[in-house]
Each structure stands twice: as structure tokens, then as C-alpha cells.
């Protein structure tokens, strides 16, 4: 259903924008219906008792039979069945197979035939200090290759061999100059695996200071190194690297991010506290401070309220049991919580909404909307009313709101406010057409009648008479108005 939005339609017609509406000339809806009807009528024609899709076979999950993801489930399921079949536990009569690791290597190299970037085992082997021979027994290698292994390859040749997946030893590159040559050739070779292999060797054999310094002038290698540290979750070294590079912002955020992986709230709070001294950019540092303050407070509130709830003496918790812990919830959610359970508290209290508002510099609108929703949920209509009230200098009270009254009505309605409450606020909507459409939607007859009266529109009022119940107070009011000789109707 298209909602009637006359004012906005005017806006579209008068402005240069194209509205994306459906009820222009053709009624698209009826067209859809048309094609649906056609479909249904045809269905009766062509279908006997087969409801199956004719185009393709579809399994119970709706996925075409034979697609891979379908088959994964399907074969897994069938396996599940066979899994249960054997009734007796099988006794393992076979001797455990010998570790295949030895033959593994040679088999795979046989398998390979050509070396298409293959046999990285050899690279990894040479990287670790101890187990060079564990997976690659030299004895089984052809002699020529064995010779290669000990030969004195230059950095360039070594990189070339690594790229081809042949075995190499990096250990003999001892001088800084050689190591850097190795790195530069690997970067020039544009092979990520080779670059990473060289970097791992450098990381092991160079001091951090030297490595960081040299990486700074080698951006590609640096990127690979950062990627490597990220992948292997070497947070400590990564932070050191970023600090050494002067990339403080990255470093600071990376460190801050760490809090997400801390589950214990007290530890998380302490960690956030340690973040406060980090050199955040100005605005972020205020946000991080707030983050810490909020969590600290949530922990206190949670402890106090949890105790009160368990004690069973506080009526609020009894009537409206808390659904979840407030810890780690966003600020506005916390404010809502406090407006719900701690509305009356003096501003000195940690959980007082006013205190929260001031501590975190919450905007008037946000505070207002949140408090409104919380009090409406509790059906505390006098609190709701008080939110709007402000006295002018003559001492009269009038209603004022930082958001439009149509938004107010929207919030109240979402919290299932009764018509008597709603109409007070509908009446305050400035825009006449909007007021009427809201009143119609919410069945606030009085407002509609009064608005028509104010518009001096007899025709509309007459028309509305048909919409109210016969004999109701509303009808009587309409009749009274229509009979009123004092009003100068415009039609």
C-alpha cells in the first residue's frame, strides 16, 4: 500500500527530482496481478499431479540437484548413515602405518615431474634450523640435485632456484649485504612466496633495528612483512615495527583493536585504560576515553543491579526483569537502560540518566528521544509529559520538543501509547495535512474534527461524519458543529 504523502508528492512534482514511485500512469500492481493470474490459470492447464519444478531437478533444500554445495551435504549425510552401521567397535588389528613422511617427499617429487612452482617443502626445510633432513632425505635425490644443494649459488641464482621450487640453502648468506641482495632479487622476481621465505630468514638472522631500518626503504618487502606478521598474529613485533616506522596512527588503532579479543570485562576495561596513553588523534582520543569510562560504569551498574535483582527487593526488576547484561552495550543503549531503571536518581549517581548525559556530552535530541522511548515503554505518561514541558516567562506551560512532533508520535506509537495520549501530541503537529493523515491513521477523531472546524471546511466535516460510529460522542460533536450558526463555513 502506498502511504498517502500529499505534501511530499507536491515536493516531487515541484522539484527537479525524479521520485521512484510505482503509481504513475500504469498501476504496476495490477500488472503483477495480471501476470500472476495468467500463471495460475496456466498451471491448472499443464500440471497433472506433478508439483515439481519442470526446469531443473531441485532437492529438498531448493538447490539444484548436482550442484557442488548440494552434493557436499548429500554425500556427507549418506556417510552419516553408514557411520552408524557397525554395531561393534572395531578392533584395530593392523599395525599403525609407518610414518609416511619419508617416502612422502620423494613420491611427491616423482608425481610432480615438472616443477611448476612445486616442492616448496625444500624452501621451508632450509628455513628452520634443525629439521632440514626430516622430509627431504638427500639420499633419495638424484645426484645432480644433491650437488645443486651444496653449490655456491649467488643471491640472484638462489632466488631463481627458489622461484622454480628447487631446494636452496639460505644459511650461507651471512653478510648483511648478501641478505639484502637476496631480498632485493626476490622482490624483483615478484613472487610473494619467495619474498616471504627470504623475510622469514631475515627476521631470524637480523636484529630488529637493522631489519626495520632496511625495510623502510623497501616498500614492497615491507608490505609483505606486515602481511606475514598479521597472518601469523605476531602482534608484538608488528606494533614495534609500526612504531619504528613512525606509523603511529596504524600502531595505535591496531593496539586498540586488540580489546575486541578480550572476553573478560574487567581485563578489557584495564586494557582500555592502558590505551588511554596512546597517541590517538585528538578526536579519537576523546572517544577512547569515553569508551573506557562507559565500560567502567557499566561494570559498576551491572554489579549493583544484578545484586538488587537477585535480592528481589526492588520492584522494578521484579516487574521488568532485565533481559541481558548492560556490559559492552553502546552508550545510547546504556542511557535507555538507565532511563528505564534509574530515571529518578539524583544527578550525583553513576546510573542517573542526567549524569550520563553530561559525562558523555549526549546531544539534546538523542537524550530526548531515548528518554521518551524508555518512559513510554513503562507507560509513565506523566514523565513523558514532563519532558516537553517548559514554562515561559508568563508562567504558562507549553509543550516544546527538540524533534518534530510527528517523530514524537511515531515513538509513542511504537511503544503502544493509547489514543488519549497520542492525540495530545498529534494535535501539536504543525503541518495540517500531516496532522490529518496521522490522526486518521491513529483514529484521533477529535483532532480531525477540530482541524476541519478550524479550516472552516464543512464538506470535509460532512464527509467525516460517515466514518465515525453512529451515536458516538464524535458524531454528536460533528452534528453540533454543523448546526453551529456562528461558524462561517467556506463551502
Amino acid at each position: 500500500m502506498m502511504k498517502s504523502k500529499p505534501d511530499e508528492e507536491d515536493y516531487w512534482n515541484s522539484s527537479k527530482f525524479k521520485a521512484f514511485t510505482f503509481d504513475d500512469e500504469d498501476d504496476e500492481f495490477s500488472r503483477l496481478k495480471e501476470s500472476k493470474q495468467a500463471v495460475n490459470s496456466i498451471r491448472g492447464l499443464v500440471e497433472e499431479d506433478d508439483d515439481e519444478d519442470d526446469v531443473e531437478k531441485v532437492s529438498w533444500s531448493g538447490e539444484p540437484v548436482g550442484s557442488i554445495s548440494w552434493s557436499v551435504r548429500e554425500t556427507a549425510a549418506s556417510n552419516h548413515r553408514t557411520d552408524r552401521e557397525p554395531a561393534f567397535p572395531k578392533i584395530n588389528t593392523e599395525t599403525p602405518p609407518l610414518s609416511r613422511s619419508h617416502s612422502g617427499y620423494s613420491l611427491s617429487s616423482l608425481f610432480k615431474g615438472k616443477t611448476k612452482g612445486g616442492n616448496f617443502q625444500s624452501i621451508t626445510d632450509t628455513l628452520s634450523d634443525s629439521s632440514v633432513r626430516l622430509y627431504a632425505p638427500e639420499l633419495r635425490k638424484p645426484k645432480s640435485e644433491y650437488k645443486d644443494y651444496v653449490s655456491d649459488w649467488s643471491p640472484e641464482e638462489t632466488v631463481h632456484r627458489m622461484k622454480q621450487g628447487k631446494s636452496v640453502s639460505l644459511e650461507k648468506f651471512r653478510s648483511l649485504q648478501d641478505k639484502l641482495l637476496l631480498l632485493d632479487f626476490s622482490v624483483a622476481a615478484h613472487d610473494g612466496n619467495v619474498i616471504t621465505a627470504v623475510l622469514i630468514y631475515l627476521k631470524r638472522t637480523l636484529s630488529k633495528e637493522v631489519l626495520f631500518r632496511e625495510l623502510e626503504s623497501r616498500q614492497t618487502a615491507l608490505r609483505h612483512f606486515i602481511h606475514y606478521l598479521t597472518e601469523t598474529r605476531d602482534q608484538k613485533l608488528l606494533l614495534e615495527l609500526l612504531r619504528a616506522l613512525g606509523r603511529t596512527e596504524d600502531m595505535v588503532l591496531l593496539q586498540y583493536k586488540e580489546h575486541l579479543s578480550i572476553a573478560d570485562e574487567n581485563k578489557r576495561r584495564d586494557f582500555l585504560k592502558s590505551c588511554l596513553s596512546l597517541p590517538f588523534p585528538a578526536d579519537d582520543s576523546a572517544h577512547v576515553q569515553d569508551h573506557y569510562t562507559l565500560l567502567e560504569r557499566q561494570i559498576i551498574i551491572e554489579a549493583t543491579d544484578g545484586q538488587a535483582e537477585r535480592g528481589g527487593k526492588v520492584e522494578m526488576f521484579h516487574k521488568f526483569p532485565r533481559r541481558a547484561s548492560i556490559v559492552n552495550m553502546p552508550l545510547i543503549t546504556t542511557l535507555y537502560y538507565c532511563c528505564f531503571y534509574h530515571y529518578e536518581e539524583p544527578e550525583g549517581s553513576f546510573s542517573s540518566p542526567l549524569n550520563i548525559r553530561h559525562t558523555f556530552r549526549i546531544s539534546e535530541k538523542q537524550f530526548f528521544v531515548t528518554a521518551l522511548a524508555a518512559r513510554a515503554k513503562l507507560k509513565a505518561w506523566s514523565d513523558v509529559d514532563a519532558l516537553f514541558t517548559c514554562r515561559n516567562w508568563l508562567g504558562f506551560t507549553r509543550k516544546r520538543s527538540p524533534v518534530t512532533f510527528s517523530r514524537v508520535v511515531d515513538i509513542l506509537q511504537k511503544n503502544s501509547a493509547p489514543t488519549q495520549v497520542l492525540q495530545d501530541y498529534v494535535a501539536l503537529v504543525d503541518d495540517v495535512t500531516l496532522r490529518i493523515s496521522l490522526a486518521q491513521k491513529l483514529k484521533c477523531h477529535d483532532i480531525i474534527i477540530n482541524t476541519y472546524r478550524d479550516l472552516k471546511d464543512r464538506q470535509l466535516l460532512l464527509g467525516y461524519r460517515g466514518k465515525v460510529e453512529i451515536g458516538s460522542a464524535e458524531e454528536r460533536k460533528i452534528i453540533e458543529l454543523l448546526d453551529n450558526q456562528q461558524i462561517r463555513w467556506k463551502n
Partner: protein
């Protein structure tokens, strides 16, 4: 099965066949019966290459998803892991292998890395002490996957994030490799144009790879005349706008994954006459969406406002076709009618499905929320009040609308204003952090780094100039019978596609000024063709351009390119390639830190 891939200007089935051949070869390397253990993420992309039947032919008897713990028992000789090169997956594999050894039957293990093997992963396997257990460790290079007759995707979700946020160019390397494979199959592409840092980088890598292969000349007559490489960050605006084509809206609302969409089942319940539908299906309805389906190919790229008319027209045609049976008098005529029945039934069921989908979408597009959101988007795109705090955004935050919706709008405002005024920027930032949680500092910083959301640095806003020069906003967009690409967003013509259009005619020289305002260099390269491979073009024959979107492309942009291909006087046909098919939501999500904590 994949015939729709070969209908287009370029037969993309060749690429698919090449990928299938390689898969078969690998499977045959592991002789004997086998079970495949899948990295679940890969089943989608592989589904575009092969069906279970192909695997079965090569003795794949069981398939499982990769899970920690013990492998399910299966009486097979080989266990093959199909995985992406990720360290966390290696740990799972190691766990699988370790618990296996205690069992009785020795099975052979293999790993197939997709798309590349990684030294880091192999090292991790070694640390876990299982590397030696593998007989085959291989890689399956799946760079460009044929998605449809004119569409290739790498299905590389994190490409944009890696390139523009983490400064990691791995995806660009794969892109260049993929383009080399493509050229090996379809001939060298003589002309390369590009705009953006990443485009420049990919072109450089391609040219270098070509030099390295200098020995072997490619003797295939070139199919593509031109390659256009476009960085996504040249056009940050288009993806955050709500797509208004049929396919675009399906993706925006339900999300298309590897060519499939899952829909709420209610509207698809088939009611038989006189039978009360007691049990509604609870499983989502899954539909495959591609040009193999005639009706879908016809309506996918239309503005949604024109879909109703197209469906009802189709309904009439199908009804009329079924009515034909009354006219069939002779046995021959009846026979002919019957022979057409399967085709007609398929058309009928396709019509039924899309009528239901259109109804589902219509419920949303006619809602007030959708309308209001679109209104704000269009204001931003036309440059109205982009320098102030927007009340709609403010209200949406106060109502706790989904964070991604808020971020899409705020980013759009920022892009359309060449950065937000510091005060506006600070205000949005505070409201977002207070309402959705302070940890989103990380996400906001990511958006800032990628250029989507930033404070204004210079007082000069160049968006209006770009908008006017490239005619990004068209007052009279015709949704029913479009005459310009702007119909895909009901008024907004996607910047990326305008660049493509201008390149074809009259050429980029006419928009030098604007090109300089957009980030990154623009360039042109030529690749020498061996003598004898120069095309002799027939009079009036269209040229073919491959447009590669680095960092993602939306369905609406694809629709706009297809529209250009079909224009009679354009003289150009477009094939589209991308790292990933995206929409504003999936795109922003890929830039978020810890998106899983997001309340939907």
C-alpha cells in the same frame, strides 16, 4: 549445462572448459577412489565451474565440509582438501590429519590450494608436523571464473579492502595472472587503457609478464580489441547508491551469491486448487540467476519500474501459446504443440518465479522507508545540502537503523561533497559511536583511509564539476524505454560507466580536466601483435572491450554496460570482469572491522 556462456560475443565457455580440464587432471593425479574435504567458501565459486557429476566421473565418492575434529569415515583411498591458503584452515587440516593416523585404514592425503599455494601455509603444516603426510600439494589457479555470457568474476571478496586499506597487492597479482590466462585463450589485447593506481599496477605487471614470456608468441587472433582497467576508488559514489534495476534490487535486498539467491519461501508456496496450504515451506527458496533463463535475461537489467509491464506482456504471450492447443486439429499440429510443451512449461515456471520475486521486491520499494532513503540519496547526488547535517540520517541513527545503512548514506554525502565539513564529520562520528558502540572507531577509520568518508581538506568541492561534465545526473531519465544509462539509478548515471562510454567516443582527451580530479593516473598502452594477427574489420563490425573493475562492480553498472552494448550506434560490445560482484552493503561490510557484532 553452461551453454549460456557461449551465446555472447566472446565464447566464455572456452575458459570454463580450460578450468574443468585442469580440475580433471588434478583429480586423476590422485589415483583411486577419493573424498573431497571442502573449504566451504569455495563450493560457490567451484559450482560455476563444475557439477558433482564431473567429480563423480573421476572417482570422487564423498564430499565433506572442512571441520575441526576427526574426519568422517569413508571407504576411499584418497582424501583431498580443497582450500584457500589460510593459516586457520591449515590448523583444521592438521587436526584432521592427526586424528586420522590413530585410525586403522591408511588413506592418502592431498591438498589443492585455490587459487595459489602459499609458503606460509605449508610452513604452518610443517610446524604442526603433518606436512609429510601429504602426497600431493598443488594449486588450482582459479582467477577469473565465467559467471555469465559476458561476465567474469574472481569472487575475491576482500580485494578492495586489501588494495586500498591494507596496501596489499596480492589481488592485483592474481588479476594480472588472470588476464594473462585470458590472453592465452583469446589472444593478445592490443590496446590497454586504465585509470587509477591499481590499474596502473596491473598493466605494469601484465606488460612485465609478457616480456618474461617473450619466447612464445601468441598466435591466436585477438578477440578483444581493448582492455579498460578501472580502479573502484575512481568511482566511490556508484556502489553506495541503491541500485534500481531488477537484478540490482534482488542483490540489494536478498543478496546474490555465486549466481544464486535465497528468497523467503512464502510467496513460492504452490497451492493446488481446493487444497488448503497447511504447511508452508520453511526452507528459503533458492533460485539460480543467469542468462540461461530466457525471461530473466530479458528483465534483469530493466529499471524495476518497467519489470511489471514486461512480466505481464510475457504472461500474455505464454497464455496465447497455450491457447494454441484449441487450434491444433490435425495429428501433426497436436504433435507439434506437444513437442513445444516442455519449453512452454519452463517459460511458465520461470514467469511464476519472477512474478513472485517482483512482488517481494515491490513490497519493499513501495515502503515509506525505501522512498525516504532514496529521496536523500538523490538529493546528495544532485548536490543538495551536502554540507549540512542531514535530518534523515540523524533520525535514522536515533531510530537505530542498521549501521550499514547509515554508513552508506554518510559516505555518499561525503563523496558528493568532496569530504564533509569538519563540524558535520565530527557530529556524525560522535552520534554513530554513541549509538552503535565505540569500537566502530576502527570501521570509521577504515572508511576514512579508503576515501569514502573524510573531513574536507580544501574548501573547493569539485563534485559539481565532475557531475556536470560527465552528465552524472539526467533530469529526464526514462525508466520504461531508456535512452541513456542513467535509467539504472532512475536519474544517476554511474561515473564508472560514463568514463567507459566517453573512452569509446569521443575519447578521454575530451575530459582531461575531470580525469585529473579523479584519483590516480590515467594511461594508455599498446601491446604489439605478431604480423598477420591484425584484424581486418568488416564494415560495421562492432569492437569488443573488456572492462575490468578492480575492487568490485555492481549489477546496475553491468546493466548500464549491457545497455551500451545493445545501443545500435555504439559500435562497441562490452565484456565485464571484476574482482567481485558487490553492492553498497557487502562493500561497506568488507571494510568494517568485526562486522559480525553488527545487529541486522
Amino acid at each position: 549445462m553452461a551453454a549460456h556462456l557461449s551465446y555472447g560475443r566472446v565464447n566464455l565457455n572456452i575458459l570454463r572448459e580450460a578450468a574443468r580440464k585442469e580440475l580433471r587432471e588434478f583429480l586423476d593425479k590422485c589415483a583411486g577412489s577419493k573424498a573431497i574435504v571442502w573449504d566451504e567458501y569455495l563450493t560457490g565459486p567451484f559450482g560455476l565451474i563444475a557439477q558433482y557429476s564431473l567429480l563423480k566421473e573421476h572417482e570422487v565418492e564423498k564430499m565433506f565440509t572442512l571441520k575441526s575434529g576427526r574426519l568422517p569415515s569413508a571407504d576411499v583411498k584418497n582424501i583431498i582438501f580443497f582450500v584457500r591458503p589460510r593459516l586457520e584452515l591449515m590448523d583444521i587440516i592438521a587436526e584432521n590429519v592427526c586424528s586420522e593416523d590413530k585410525q586403522h585404514s591408511p588413506r592418502d592425503f592431498h591438498i589443492l590450494f585455490v587459487p595459489r599455494r602459499s609458503m606460509l601455509c605449508e610452513q604452518r603444516l610443517k610446524e604442526q608436523g603433518v606436512l609429510g603426510s601429504f602426497i600431493n600439494i598443488d594449486e588450482y589457479i582459479l582467477d577469473l571464473i565465467p559467471y555469465d555470457g559476458d561476465l567474469l568474476s574472481m569472487e575475491y571478496e576482500s580485494a578492495f579492502r586489501e588494495c586500498y586499506l591494507e596496501n596489499d597487492q596480492t589481488s592485483l597479482y592474481h588479476t594480472a595472472k588472470g588476464l594473462m590466462t585470458l590472453q592465452a585463450l583469446y589472444g593478445t589485447i592490443p590496446q590497454i587503457y586504465g585509470k587509477g593506481e591499481c590499474a596502473r599496477h596491473v598493466a605494469n605487471m601484465m606488460l612485465r609478464m609478457k616480456r618474461e614470456f617473450a619466447g612464445s608468441q601468441n598466435q591466436i587472433l585477438p578477440v578483444f580489441d581493448t582492455l579498460l582497467l578501472l580502479d573502484r576508488n575512481v568511482d566511490l559514489l556508484t556502489p553506495v547508491a541503491t541500485q534500481l534495476t531488477y537484478e540490482g534490487l534482488i542483490d540489494e535486498i536478498y543478496g546474490i551469491n555465486n549466481g544464486y539467491v535465497k528468497l523467503p519461501p512464502e510467496k513460492f508456496a504452490q497451492k493446488k486448487q481446493g487444497e488448503a496450504s497447511k504447511d508452508l515451506p520453511t526452507e528459503p527458496k533458492k533460485l539460480q540467476l543467469n542468462s540461461a533463463e530466457e525471461l530473466y535475461a530479458e528483465i534483469r537489467d530493466k529499471n524495476f519500474n518497467a519489470v511489471g509491464a514486461a512480466l505481464s506482456k510475457k504472461a500474455k504471450i505464454i497464455s496465447a501459446a497455450f491457447e494454441e492447443r484449441h487450434n491444433a486439429k490435425t495429428v501433426g499440429e497436436i504433435k507439434q504443440f506437444v513437442s513445444q510443451l516442455p519449453h512452454m512449461q519452463a517459460a511458465r515456471s520461470s514467469l511464476a518465479n519472477h512474478t513472485s520475486v517482483a512482488e517481494l521486491i515491490k513490497d519493499i520499494t513501495t515502503s515509506e522507508a525505501f522512498f525516504d532513503n532514496l529521496t536523500v540519496e538523490q538529493e546528495f547526488m544532485t548536490g543538495v545540502d551536502t554540507d549540512k547535517v542531514n535530518t534523515y540520517i540523524e533520525d535514522s541513527i536515533a531510530q537505530k537503523d542498521p549501521l550499514i545503512k547509515i554508513l552508506r548514506l554518510v559516505c555518499m554525502q561525503s563523496v558528493c561533497n568532496n569530504g564533509l565539513k569538519q563540524k558535520v564529520f565530527d557530529y556524525y562520528k560522535r552520534e554513530i559511536l554513541q549509538t552503535y558502540g565505540y569500537e566502530h572507531i576502527l570501521t570509521l577509520n577504515n572508511l576514512e583511509k579508503s576515501g569514502l568518508l573524510k573531513p574536507q581538506t580544501s574548501s573547493r568541492n569539485n563534485y559539481p564539476t565532475i557531475r556536470k561534465t560527465l552528465k552524472l545526473w539526467m533530469e529526464d531519465a526514462n525508466e520504461q524505454n531508456p535512452n541513456d544509462i542513467s535509467y539504472v539509478y532512475s536519474g544517476y548515471a554511474p561515473l564508472s560507466i560514463r568514463l567507459t562510454q566517453v573512452l569509446a567516443r569521443p575519447g578521454w582527451r575530451s575530459i582531461e580536466e575531470v580525469l585529473k580530479m579523479l584519483p590516480g593516473p590515467h594511461f594508455e598502452e599498446r601491446q604489439q601483435l605478431p604480423a598477420g594477427l591484425h584484424k581486418k574489420r568488416q564494415q560495421g563490425e562492432n569492437r569488443t572491450t573488456l572492462v575490468f573493475f578492480l575492487g568490485g562492480v555492481t549489477y546496475a553498472e553491468i546493466a548500464a554496460l549491457r545497455f551500451l552494448s545493445q545501443m545500435e550506434d555504439s559500435g562497441m560490445e562490452y565484456i565485464i570482469a571484476t574482482t567481485k560482484l558487490i553492492n553498497g552493503t557487502t562493500w561497506i561490510k568488507s571494510l568494517m572491522d568485526r562486522p559480525e557484532s553488527q545487529t541486522p
